[in-house]
Every structure is written in C-alpha cells, then in structure tokens.
C-alpha cells in the first residue's frame, strides 16, 4: 500500500530525515517509536503533504502512485488520513459543517452523490457511537475549547467518518488518560480490516497494549535504526531509548 524508499526531507534547509525506508501492506499496523526530535512528526507531515517540508530525495508510492506529486487534499481524498498531534482550532466553523464538507468532498471525488444534511447527520450519529464521541462536541466549532483529550478523540471521530485506507496517527495517545486511550484504541481497532493500514506514532508502549502492531520501528536522528515485532516495544518500555541511541552511534551498551 505504502512504499517509502530512501526518503530524505528538510525543513527550512535543515535536513530532518536521512533516508527512510518503509513498507506498509494492507491489513497491517505499524508503530513508529523514538525519542523526541527524532523526526516522527516530520515523517507523518511529509506523507500528508505539508508544504513546509521539502522532499529532497527518494520516493513514496501509495497504491502504486507517486504520492509526492499529489496535493494534500488529493492525498486525503485518496484515503490518507493524518491524526494530528496538535489539532488546530477553527473558530466559528461547526464540526457538522466541517465534516460534512470533508465527507462530501471525498464522495464527489469518488463519483458518489454528496450526502444531504439529513443523511449526513444520521451517518454522523452512527460513527459517534462507534467511537464513543460526546454528542455535545459535534455542536461546537472545530476543536474550539476542546480539552486535549477531546481534541484527540475528535481526530479518531473524524477518521471514523472519513474511513481512510491509510491512517497515520501522530501521538494520538499522548495526553490521554487510560479511559480515553481505550476509546482511541477501540476506534482504531474497529476500523481495522484487510484493506486498510495504520501507522501509529507513539512515545509509549501502553497504546500498543490495545493496538497490536505487526511491526515496530524505532526512528532516531532521522533514520529508522531498528525494526522488529511488537516485542521491541516492550523492550523499549523496559530499557528506554539509551541503548538504541548507543547502538545507533556505534557503541555497545
């Protein structure tokens, strides 16, 4: 589904990622872990098409197409969803209006009829239940006055509405209490099927208690320095990142 080859990117002339290679197949869940500042969010934003990020080398194929040539909205309409680490507030724009626009843009792109207001509200109610999203929040402006946890849950709710093929969740778990974490995980698991893939970016192993990854990658200083099964996450939880750093820098622990 997603094939990243030797991807090097820079922000404002400063290179952040130094050759990322990653293969994600349909039906898989990948976890990307790593210490702060290692380039995890940059990778997520590069895949979503943020213009601040300059791709200087490498290729990204998504469903066989050159992802890097597409506008961010085209990527979104083709099924890439980014759960933001810091979702922005959009005052005055209601959640209903915002998501109706988003869902219908996607439907139009797929050659489907846009949903009427009534049908959309019905669709939204279904999804709200699925991700246990507080019904009051949909009456408010996008993320405005939402708590940190509400914003993160809102990302999952939007993901449920848009039914992406490839979801990239950038630290969706950070700042969540254990109950909220379970809700987020439940939302992700509910959408899991053989045609979809998820990339979970996280600091903590605890999310991976609920979302079981097929592979865990450690990103450090702009490179994937270790890839393994889910046991790697447990090891990181136990030993921290120091041994990874040491290994990456060529020292034995």
């Amino acid at each position: 589904m997603l094939s990243i080859k030797d991807l090097r990117v820079a922000i404002g002339g400063k290179e952040i990622l130094f050759g990322i290679n990653l293969e994600v197949k349909a039906g898989e869940v990948h976890a990307i872990m790593g210490p702060n500042g290692s380039g995890k969010s940059t990778l997520a934003l590069a895949l979503a098409g943020r213009d601040l990020i300059d791709v200087i080398h490498g290729s990204v194929k998504y469903m066989g197409e050159n992802l890097l040539e597409m506008d961010p909205e085209e990527r979104a309409k083709k099924g890439i969803f980014l759960g933001f680490q810091y979702p922005v507030e959009i005052p005055g724009v209601s959640m209903v209006n915002f998501m109706k626009t988003a869902v219908n843009e996607q439907r139009i792109y797929q050659g489907k009829e846009p949903l009427s207001a009534g049908d959309f509200l019905k669709y939204m109610r279904e999804k709200k239940e699925l991700v246990e999203f507080d019904s009051q929040l949909t009456n408010r402006s996008v993320n405005e006055g939402f708590s940190g946890g509400e914003k993160k849950k809102n990302e999952i709710f939007q993901m449920a509405l848009l039914e992406p093929k490839l979801a990239i969740l950038d630290e969706t778990d950070s700042g969540l209490d254990i109950d909220a974490l379970k809700i987020v995980a439940k939302g992700v698991n509910a959408m899991k099927n053989k045609d979809k893939a998820t990339i979970v970016i996280t600091h903590y192993q605890r999310l991976l208690d609920y979302i079981v990854p097929d592979q865990v990658h450690v990103l450090f200083q702009g490179r994937i320095v270790k890839s393994s099964g889910r046991e790697l996450a447990l090891e990181l939880e136990e030993k921290g990142y120091d041994w990874i750093k040491a290994e990456a820098n060529g020292h034995t622990p």
Partner: protein, 482 residues
C-alpha cells in the same frame, strides 16, 4: 506554495463581478452639475409640493457652506460635484399601475438580478420596491400589504399619497444639516422607499428595496423612511448592485427609521455595489447615513449589514435610544479586497433609562484592502443603567491589507456598564492544512473559515439573504489567503 497562492489570487481577482452588466434602457437624464435650478428641476420632474422643494433648497444652501469630512481612515480622491448627473430615470410612466406597464427591458434587468417584479414568481413572500437610478420602477405586493394598513411604496408616491406622514418624519432622525453627504442627499434625493407599519401590526412578509445604478456618470441619492408605529414589527432588507465602469460613481443615501412604543424594526443590508477592478479602478463611493430612533419605550432597532462591494464605504448605521428600555443592535460584516476601503461602524446614543446596545463588528481584509471599524457609544446623563457590549474582530488575509479599530466611549452616567472586546486574527497555514488534510481544498477552506468567522452576524440575516450573503463572502474572498 507561494506561487500557488499567487496563482489562486490572480484567478480570483480576474473573476468577473457578476452584476457588472449594463442594460440598454432609454433614460431621461438632466445635464451634469449642481445648482439651485437643478434642484428645482428635480423637484418639478417629481411634481413635488412646495414644502419639499423648500426642504431641498434649505439643504442645498447648507451644503454649500460645508466641506467634505476627512476624519475617516480613507483616501478619497477629489470629487467634482459639478461633473455628476443628479437625475436619471428610465423612460417610462412613473408608478406603473400594473406590471404590463413596466418596460420589458427593465423587467429583464431585474430578472437577471434575481429580483422578479412579477408577484407570481415570488415564492418566499417578499415585497420588493425596485429602484433604478433615480426612480422606483415597481413596488410589488403593495395592495396585499395595504389590506393590513401597511404602506409600502416608493418615496415619490408617498409624498403624493401620504404627505402628512412624510412631512412629519422626513429629516426627523437625520436632519438636513446632519453631515456633508446627508445634506447633499437632502438637496438632491431622487427616490427610495417609504414604509409605514400601523399600530399593532406585524408585517407578514419581508419588505425589501433593491437599488440598481444603471446610467453612467450619475449619482444615486435615494432616501428611505421607515416608520413603525406602536407595537408593530417589520423586517426590512436592502440590496444593491451596479454595472462595472472605469469611473467612480457616487452613492449618497439616507435611511431614517422611527420606532415608536414597543415597535421592533430589523433592517438588513447586503451591499454589493461594484467594488472597482483589481487595480482599484472604478467602483462606487458608498457614503451613506443610516440612523434610527427608538422613540418609544421598549422599542428595538436592529441593523445587520454585510458590506462586500463599493470602492469606498463610509457608513455608520446608528441608533438613538431615547425610549426607556429601548434596544439598539448593530451586526456587521465588512470585506475589503483588492483596493477597497471601508470605514464603517455605528453610533449608539443612550438617552433613556435601561437602554441596551450590542455591537458585533467583523472586519475582513484581503489584498490591499483597508478596513476600519469606527464606533461611538455615548451614554448620556439621563441614561440610568445603560448597558453596552461591543465586540470588534478583524480578520486579515495576506500581509498587504490593513485592519483598524477606532472605538469611542463617552459616559456621563456612572451606572453605565460598557464592555468592549477586540481581536485581530489571521487564517493560519495550520488551519488551511488541517482542512486540506481532510480533503478540503484551499479555496473552500478559506470560505469555510471566513463564513465561520462571520457566522454570528450572518445568523442575524433573514434566511434567503443569509445563503446569498454566504455565497457573496466566498466570491469576494476566494483564494485571497496570502
């Protein structure tokens, strides 16, 4: 991205102003220039009574002693008042008895503007007074409204048929000495709408005046007078457009509203005069005086305006809160794009006890537009327990535009509570990207965000207008994020 944005902006600014067409209608015009004879000629053409001519002449004498106001944050080019035609009327019978008497070309023009003069075509139940250049072309539903005792007609008809009412209230809210443009209007006003809602009547349909400038080199000086008697209610709408021309055209209107005891008046404007081209050439100078008086106790006047057009806007719809417990409201969205300039706001004069006013102003600047809010909240000694809440927000799109806020508060009564809030914001790239990532392109994202920003005001508009205004906001601003 920078290039992409430039491209988007270019595309948008090349968008044609939708109402910029000119209709080929035979027009009766008088020679350019302004003097006493011209005023007598206008008055004679309209077969006016002597008292009205006197009113005009007094105003003209006053105007000659006055000079253009320069206190606004506007760059107004020199206006040659002798180079303007003060009267232009489509050649047809004044006050046609039936629709069949209306010139088909005129009907076609208003059809094209989406304002059918044929009552059969109105599904929404809106009565319209259609004004082109200096005269009213047709007022719909006059008869239906008359059954309720409501008078809704052109100003000229009102002068003929209801002279006492006109004489009683004309100039009672905006005196002919009021200000340079109002005084000019008092001297040369041509037509406009008159409306009287009798005691205890709730007007069953939206009343609306549609102003169209068609003739070239002509000034438009309409006059609207709206009187709501005790315990009555009316919602009034006003729309306006003009053809695209390279030279500026002057529009100096006066609107007066009188609300008697427990009367409620809601006055909404969607102003879409031609704004000029993207280099700032042409466009309407919109210098308008609008004022209402809450004369009776427990009365209420609410102004809502969506200002998207005009090269320069100078406009301060105001409320004199004379009656005890009376309420004044001002809700405004003003957009300036390209080279447009707007200096707009309101005055709330608190005179009666327990008077309350609310001001919500949303300025949006894009391109090289300059947008100023100017407002005065004045609490007089007599206004015990007066309350005001003002909120002035500015939204900037790009880095070549400007937003300015000039709030004035004058309080002579210590029981007053006056609150003022102001914010300035930009649409951030993060917001745009967030929308993009959800599959919403930048154009639509800007539209969503701007409409969200203006929602508080747009919600105050009557339904049909709100949809129209939303579209207009989108068209006025598409892609102007920089």
């Amino acid at each position: 991205m920078e290039n992409k944005q430039d491209e988007v902006i270019r595309e948008v600014t090349q968008n044609e102003y939708k109402y910029g067409f000119h209709s080929d209608i035979e027009t009766d015009t008088i020679p350019k220039g302004l003097n006493e004879d011209v005023i007598r000629l206008i008055s004679a053409k309209k077969e006016e009574p002597e008292w009205l001519l006197e009113f005009r002449l007094k105003a003209y004498a006053q105007w000659k002693k006055m000079s253009m106001p320069h206190w606004a944050h506007l760059e107004i080019p020199e206006i040659d008042y002798q180079d303007i035609i003060y009267y232009a009327a489509p050649k047809q019978k004044i006050g046609p008895d039936s629709l069949d008497d209306v010139d088909p070309e005129l009907r076609a023009t208003f059809d094209k503007l989406g304002i059918p003069l044929d009552e059969q075509k109105h599904l929404t139940g809106m009565a319209v007074d259609a004004v082109m250049d200096s005269v009213s072309v047709k007022t719909t539903f006059s008869e239906t409204l008359a059954e309720l005792g409501i008078i809704f007609c052109s100003f000229s008809e009102a002068v003929n048929n209801h002279p006492d009412l006109v004489r009683q209230y004309l100039g009672s809210v905006v005196p002919y000495t009021d200000n340079y443009f109002a005084t000019l209007n008092s001297a040369v006003f041509s037509d406009g709408s008159f409306c009287y809602i009798p005691k205890g009547v709730r007007c069953p349909m939206e009343l609306s005046t549609y102003f169209r400038i068609n003739a070239a080199n002509t000034g438009q000086f309409e006059r609207t007078l709206l009187v709501a008697d005790d315990e009555s209610y009316v919602s009034y709408l006003e729309g306006c457009t003009a053809p695209m021309r390279d030279e500026n055209q002057l529009h100096a209107a006066v609107v007066e509203i009188v609300a008697l005891e427990k009367a409620q008046v809601k006055y909404s404007t969607v102003q879409n005069w031609y704004p000029g081209d993207r280099n700032g050439k042409g466009g309407i100078f919109n210098f308008v005086t609008k004022r209402g008086i809450c004369k009776g106790n427990d009365s209420k006047i609410s102004w809502t305006q969506v200002e998207t057009g005009s090269a320069i806007t100078w406009k301060y719809p105001s409320c004199i809160l004379k009656g005890h417990n009376s309420i004044g409201e001002f809700y405004s969205v003003a957009i300036t794009n390209n080279h447009q300039q707007a200096d707009t706001g309101t005055k709330m004069m608190h005179i009666g006890r327990n008077t309350r006013s609310t001001i919500i102003s949303k300025g949006i600047s894009a391109g090289r537009g300059q947008n100023s809010y100017r407002g005065l909240v004045r609490i007089l000694k007599t206004a015990v327990n007066a309350r005001n809440f003002s909120q002035c927000d500015s939204l900037l799109l790009g880095d070549k535009c400007g937003a300015h806020t000039f709030p004035y508060i004058e309080t002579d009564n210590s029981t007053a509570i006056v609150e003022h809030e102001a914010t300035t914001s930009k649409i951030s790239e993060d917001q745009i990207f967030y929308c993009n990532q959800r599959g919403i392109d930048t154009e639509k994202a800007v539209g969503l965000i701007v409409n969200g920003y203006a929602r508080e005001v747009l919600n105050k508009l009557p339904m049909e207008f709100a949809v129209e205004a939303q579209k207009l906001l989108q068209i006025s601003l598409e892609g102007s994020v920089g």
